[in-house]
């Protein structure tokens, strides 16, 4: 378990810089690939909902430090980790479809939380819905690649 946590920490730092230096630049319709979200979903499915929620918070905090903001990413990723934790059934861990659904829902709820908190609940319904759905869909191909890559690695 300790070794796995160490790998998660190393992965979070590496993916954090990848996110900041590359993925943050691939913005389409207000959505961008979210490597940290994928890691949070992966951890939540493997380790359960409590661990996933905690991991989401820590990962979000790391992104807050990299972005220079405070609390926004932590809030969104906590919600994402919690949502992804509902998909931690051990029988479904190897199913890519399960990972994709978990990613889509985690992105949907996480982005909604981000948009609503960042605008102090003033975001127009259409705007945050579009952003949440776009992020959710945009991350699916990356989720597939991440799942296949991480499966071989573990």
């Amino acid at each position: 378990m300790r070794q796995r946590i160490l790998w998660y920490v190393v992965g979070a730092i590496a993916l954090g810089f990848l996110q900041k230096l590359l993925f943050d630049r691939l913005l389409i319709f207000g959505a961008k690939p979210d490597a940290m979200l994928l890691l949070a979903v992966w951890i939540a499915r493997r380790e359960g909902q409590s661990f996933g929620t905690t991991a989401g918070f820590v990962i979000g905090l790391l992104m807050d430090l990299l972005h220079g903001t405070m609390g926004l990413d932590a809030f969104a990723k906590t919600v994402s980790g919690f949502v992804a934790g509902f998909f931690s059934n051990p029988d479904d861990l190897e199913k890519v479809s399960n990972f994709l659904i978990a990613t889509a829902l985690a992105a949907l709820f996480g982005t909604s939380a981000y948009e609503l908190v960042s605008t102090a609940l003033q975001a127009p319904f259409f705007k945050w819905t579009l952003s949440a759905v776009a992020t959710s869909l945009y991350n699916l191909p990356f989720a597939y690649l991440f799942f296949e890559g991480a499966k071989r690695f573990t």
Binding site: F17, H67, G68, M70, G71, L72, F75, S131
Partner: protein, 280 residues
């Protein structure tokens, strides 16, 4: 009692964690401008800036290899020479404009490179390689030779974060050059070349093409810095104010160099404004 507590903690711990972490996150968000969190954010900016700078240099060399390969492929020494001269000329013109800007401005300016940019549909941010050790302070205006680019919102010893005009949290009071109408330029997301001019009554006429300059009473910028030009003005249905689109002076898609206006923010004025807000 203990059994009940164990039951709650064991069966609902994920919900308890969710609530606790969300509350901590909101707490951090609300208190992000406290000195302790400011220091943490400053340290993280410094750390990331230090990592980003060599990577940026590496990227430049990577770009040069590509450029060289393209030049070899053309195998035409003369055209390559012309191409290089044209590039040098454009760069030279840009640098001359920057030098003119500095020479024409009596205020103390500090030249800086943009070393990182946070892309966001509404909240774009830039990092520059000038920090508190260069005299940069929170609240200082950031300019280019074309006009106002933004303001400093966070500093570390060697780097600073700039909130640009193309950030929905940024607002600046402006005055139209000819008609002397006062309004506020606010970017609401979308196209990074245009913004909106707010609070111009429908009863007043503003000319298309008119320049918008910062006012005397801006809380951070000196007066008469260009912000943009009026691109389109039309009455807003059922509203007292016009709907005015502004073409921004600074091209943010190619922004690489900036000046920080080292004029210190007027602390007394800002304190008075803060006290007035508390009073309200």
């Amino acid at each position: 009692m203990r059994q009940l507590l164990d039951f709650i903690i064991y069966d609902f711990r994920q919900y308890i964690l969710l609530i606790v972490f969300c509350l901590i996150s909101l707490g951090l968000l609300v208190n992000r401008d406290t000195p302790a969190l400011h220091a943490i954010r400053g340290a993280s900016v410094e750390l990331f800036g230090a990592i980003e700078t060599p990577l940026k240099t590496w990227n430049r060399y990577f770009g040069l290899i590509d450029e060289n390969a393209a030049l070899l492929a053309t195998n035409a020494e003369l055209s390559a020479e012309v191409s290089r001269m044209r590039t040098a000329q454009i760069e030279n013109e840009k640098l001359r404009e920057l030098l003119n800007c500095k020479a024409e401005t009596p205020r103390a300016l500090h030249f800086a490179h943009v070393v990182d940019r946070t892309f966001h549909p509404e909240r774009n941010l830039f990092m520059i390689d000038a920090g508190s050790q260069d005299g940069v302070e929170i609240g200082m205006a950031v300019l280019t030779d074309k006009g106002l680019a933004g303001r400093i919102i966070l500093t570390s010893p060697h780097f600073a974060i700039v909130q640009p005009v193309i950030n929905s949290d940024f607002k600046v009071s402006v005055v139209s050059e000819k008609t002397r109408l006062l309004g506020v330029v606010h970017w609401a997301g979308g196209d990074i070349a245009t913004s909106q001019l707010l609070h111009i009554p429908t009863s007043r006429k503003i000319d298309v093409g008119e320049r918008l300059l910062t006012t005397e009473f801006s809380s951070f910028a000196n007066a008469n810095i260009p912000v943009g030009t009026v691109e389109r003005a039309e009455p807003n249905d059922n509203d007292l104010f016009q709907k005015i689109r502004v073409s921004l002076s600074v091209d943010f898609s190619t922004l690489e160099h900036v000046f920080v206006d080292l004029t210190k923010p007027n602390v007394e004025q800002n304190q008075l404004r803060a006290r007035y807000r508390e009073f309200q």
